[in-house]
């Protein structure tokens, strides 16, 4: 089965990268210590993880409904606007410009970054923040990811947008699937070709990068690594013909919003606030009745 092979390879490569990075950036001692008292650490971030799980579950279970709603009811096809916006901003199309630097080496690099680098970038902070003294950073990360997915899902429902490779084969090349057609087996199970605005690859990568900045004192080495990877992932989405420049800008904006939410709000806080809100409503209601 092609999907299984692709997945196995992904797991193997990413696991290797994770182990290396953990040993160098976090250090074996910290990891061992964290693993010993994993129980309270897990408990500490149980709520945000549950929230993330709920959002992912909604996304996974409503795929058909969302697709039907997006394509048959709402039908906001913004592809031509994205094309023209890119053109208007630069006079020429930034994706085409990036692709004009095409070499075999660069393509291999960006394909690697887009698939393996991205998976690594998303998973590593979980390990790194898990090994810290406090679980605040991990909770922030999870809340920020949740916000990314929730807002992303909303945009995907509201807008139909095809990426450059799908619109104009004369101007743009679909480098990823030309170089690595099997990867579509993988991405197809996760996403559809009408969901390119905003770029979740960019937003999640940039979220990790912005949080690396927030935690730069704890992991100084992680900041440049995350920065390099996040920017490479963003560029790769355009170089490979998957996203427009506008998607990447929107993805970065979404990352900023998500990090803001992650840093300033906690799931506990939101739950408490909503409980307070309903309580006052209830009290007022009761008071009115009396």
């Amino acid at each position: 089965m092609a999907l299984v092979e692709v997945l196995l390879e992904l797991v193997f490569v990413v696991a290797t990268m994770l182990v290396t990075a953990t040993l160098v950036i976090v250090g074996p001692r910290n990891v061992a210590a964290a693993l010993q008292d994993f129980r309270w650490r897990l408990e500490a971030c149980l709520l945000p993880v549950a929230a993330l799980a709920v959002v992912l579950l909604i996304r996974w279970s409503t795929g058909d409904i969302v697709q039907r709603l997006e394509r048959r009811v709402l039908r906001n096809n913004i592809t031509p606007y994205l094309f023209e916006l890119d053109q208007a901003l630069f006079g020429t199309n930034p994706v085409a410009v990036l692709q004009s630097f095409q070499t075999e080496l660069l393509t291999s690099f960006f394909v690697f970054v887009y698939i393996y680098g991205y998976a690594f970038l998303l998973i590593f902070p979980f390990i790194a923040y898990f090994a810290l003294e406090e679980m605040d950073e991990l909770s922030t990360l999870v809340v920020a990811f949740t916000a990314n997915y929730a807002i992303g899902l909303l945009c995907y429902t509201l807008f139909i947008a095809f990426g450059p490779r799908n619109v104009d084969p004369l101007l743009f090349e679909g480098l990823l699937y030309d170089a690595f057609p099997q990867s579509r087996t993988l991405t197809n199970t996760i996403n559809q070709n009408t969901n390119v605005f905003p770029s979740l690859h960019t937003s999640l990568s940039m979220t990790v990068f912005f949080l690396a900045w927030v935690t730069r004192e704890k992991y100084p080495l992680w900041l440049p690594v995350a920065g390099f990877l996040a920017i490479s992932v963003s560029l790769s989405t355009m170089y490979l013909g998957i996203h427009w420049f506008s998607d990447v800008v929107a993805g970065t904006a979404l990352a900023l919003v998500s990090v803001y939410i992650g840093v300033n709000y906690t799931i506990e806080g939101l739950v408490a606030a909503s409980r307070r809100f309903f309580q006052t409503q209830l009290e007022r209601h009761n008071a009115d009745r009396e």
Partner: protein
């Protein structure tokens, strides 16, 4: 009262307006004219087509078209729409200006009747999707239906000439079909339709094999919905024709009695066909198939609401053929008379190629579910019950689709069967393996997981398959074509001269050599330009002043801007700053 301030403002505003108005009134007539006239705007057109994922070639033609329109001073936009939704936009809702798509080709000259007759102007599906209403076209379409062989060719020639003048649509090229195949398998022709599947499955050197023919396809949502009456879906080519059988199957130019044992045209004038069904016909669910099902199908296509909706809800498919029918008369279980309207036998026999539907299942689907929608044309029909050589198996997943042999089919047992079925079948059914894109489909073939590919191979994947050791490609020709269609209801596109000029704005020969890499035939002759690949008549078509009536004004795919501008000027358009004005 706290609205003192606004009322002052209102008074002030009124005063200003009053002063302004009287000032304007005293002004010269020139200012008035300027204020009253809105300036002419640039002509704008949106080209809808599928994304490259669905059909790279259609997307490429559309992008070239956009560039050429832009060069002509048109504000052109290229909007990709997923295949199913594109069909919905152009065939059901008429929401488009210009579309580019692949058409599966015409079965007979009379197919133009359904495509263009104004009687279908408000119907859905491939029935007049361009919304043309042209009495001349109607007259030619009706006359060719009735005419005998000798008269028909001249009427058709006139029709083609008129269509080239008015161009409701235009054809770009006839692509070759290309299939990849693993080495030992003999593949006479790339499989797309039942006849071609039967040929590969009955080839003496291909078996017998304990297992199905493994066929690779790619695409989105290919097996989600298996309703033979709907048009707004992405499908595996030929799949439903393997499941649903007609009375008579068209094999090339032959009409081979299929579920019908015999077709008799007893009377002079040939207004009636007497059909005798084969003995022991069965539906896939074991129910017997009789003349009631034939009568039902033909009536149901005309009105899927079976009289419950005023004016009826015609099916979006097979209507062009169905309108040949006047009425039916069931004689007994196996004999039925079909009375046709004024039509020659050549045109009328198309009626017999409509796939049959089981009355016991579709009768219940006549309920209206929305405006101009019945259950019959919206239902997913996930477990299709047909009477074809293959039945849909229940063991179907998102990446695999199985057709099992329908052993009770009379043509599998009887000795008296069409020549085509000689040696059928060396395989036990067909399994479709669904890949996400052409590259992955090619990968499955090279890895030896499938026997043959059935979705169109883009040139680069075909190359990879040829370069691999145990695989090769087979090329064939079909009547399928890439077309550009225009919505006659949209502003400028209502003007035949404008459409004709737009139809010249694509360099067909350049497109074939560059985009198709030579794997297609450009449409250049009059009949080819309207979608009639073959011209079977003896007399030549009249050629227009220049040999290619829709010649491209430019070279090597690039339009000559000044030439295009003068052509638009010739038909009454104006330019300002290189922009084409309405």
């Amino acid at each position: 009262m706290d609205d003192v301030a606004p009322s002052t403002t209102r008074r002030g505003l009124l005063a200003t307006v009053g002063v302004g108005a009287s000032a304007l009134a005293g002004c010269s007539e020139r200012l008035w004219s300027q204020a009253e006239t809105t300036g002419p705007e640039q002509v704008s057109l949106t080209i809808k087509t599928v994304p490259a994922d669905d059909d790279r070639l259609a997307a490429t033609i559309a992008s070239r078209l956009r560039e050429n329109y832009t060069a002509a001073g048109i504000d052109a936009t290229h909007e990709p729409v997923s295949k199913a939704e594109l069909y919905r936009d152009i065939l059901l809702e008429g929401e488009y200006d210009v579309f580019v798509t692949r058409h599966s080709g015409f079965d007979e000259y009379d197919a133009l009747y359904g495509l263009l007759h104004s009687q279908f102007v408000s119907e859905r599906g491939w029935q007049n999707p361009f919304h043309v209403s042209d009495v001349t076209i109607d007259e030619y379409l009706e006359t060719q239906r009735e005419a005998d062989e000798t008269d028909r060719s001249s009427v058709l020639a006139d029709l083609i000439g008129h269509l080239l003048q008015t161009t409701p649509y235009t054809v770009v090229a006839y692509p070759y079909t290309v299939s990849g195949v693993t080495e030992p398998l003999q593949l006479p022709i790339p499989p797309r339709c039942p006849r071609e599947y039967i040929e590969v499955m009955s080839h003496p050197e291909n078996g017998p094999r304990d297992g199905p023919l493994e066929v690779g396809v790619f695409g989105e949502g290919l097996t989600e919905e298996l309703n033979p009456l709907t048009v707004d879906r992405n499908r595996i080519d030929g799949l439903l024709d393997l499941v649903y059988d007609p009375l008579v199957r068209q094999i090339g130019d032959e009409y081979v009695p299929w579920l019908a044992e015999d077709v008799e045209w007893p009377e002079e004038g040939q207004r009636r066909a007497r059909i005798t069904l084969r003995e022991g016909l069965e539906w896939h669910d074991g129910e017997s198939l009789d003349t009631d099902d034939v009568e039902f199908t033909l009536a149901f296509l005309e009105d899927t609401s079976m009289g419950s909706v005023d004016g009826g809800v015609p099916a979006p498919r097979y209507r062009g053929r169905q309108t040949l029918l006047d009425r039916t008369a069931v004689i007994d279980d196996r004999t039925i008379d079909l009375y046709v309207f004024e039509a020659s036998q050549t045109a009328a026999r198309r009626l017999l190629t409509i796939p049959l539907l089981p009355a016991h299942i579709w009768t219940e689907r006549s309920e209206a579910v929305a405006d101009r929608q019945t259950e019959a044309i919206t239902v997913a029909n996930e477990d299709p019950v047909g009477s074809g050589l293959f039945a849909v198996s229940e063991a179907t997943t998102a990446t695999e689709f199985e057709l099992e042999s329908f052993d009770a089919h009379v043509l599998r047992g009887t000795a008296d069967r069409p020549e085509l079925l000689e040696g059928f079948s060396q395989f036990e059914g067909i399994t479709f393996r669904i890949a996400p894109n052409p590259g992955a489909m090619g990968g499955l073939l090279i890895d030896g997981e499938i026997d043959v590919t059935a979705s169109e191979l883009p040139p680069e994947t075909a190359r990879e398959i040829r370069n691999a050791t145990a695989t090769r490609t087979v090329t064939g020709t079909t009547d399928a074509f890439y077309m550009i269609g225009y919505n006659s209801r949209q502003d400028e596109l209502g003007n035949p001269n404008f459409r004709r000029l737009c139809s010249r704005l694509i360099d067909r020969e350049h497109a074939v050599s560059e985009f198709f890499e030579g794997f297609a035939q450009p449409a250049t002759t009059p009949n080819a330009l309207v979608g009639l690949h073959d011209w079977d008549f003896d007399d030549e078509l009249e050629t227009s002043p220049d040999t290619d009536p829709l010649a491209f004004p430019g070279t090597d795919g690039e339009p000559n801007t000044s030439r295009v501008q003068s052509l638009f000027a010739d038909i009454g358009y104006r330019y300002e700053d290189e922009l084409l004005l309405e």
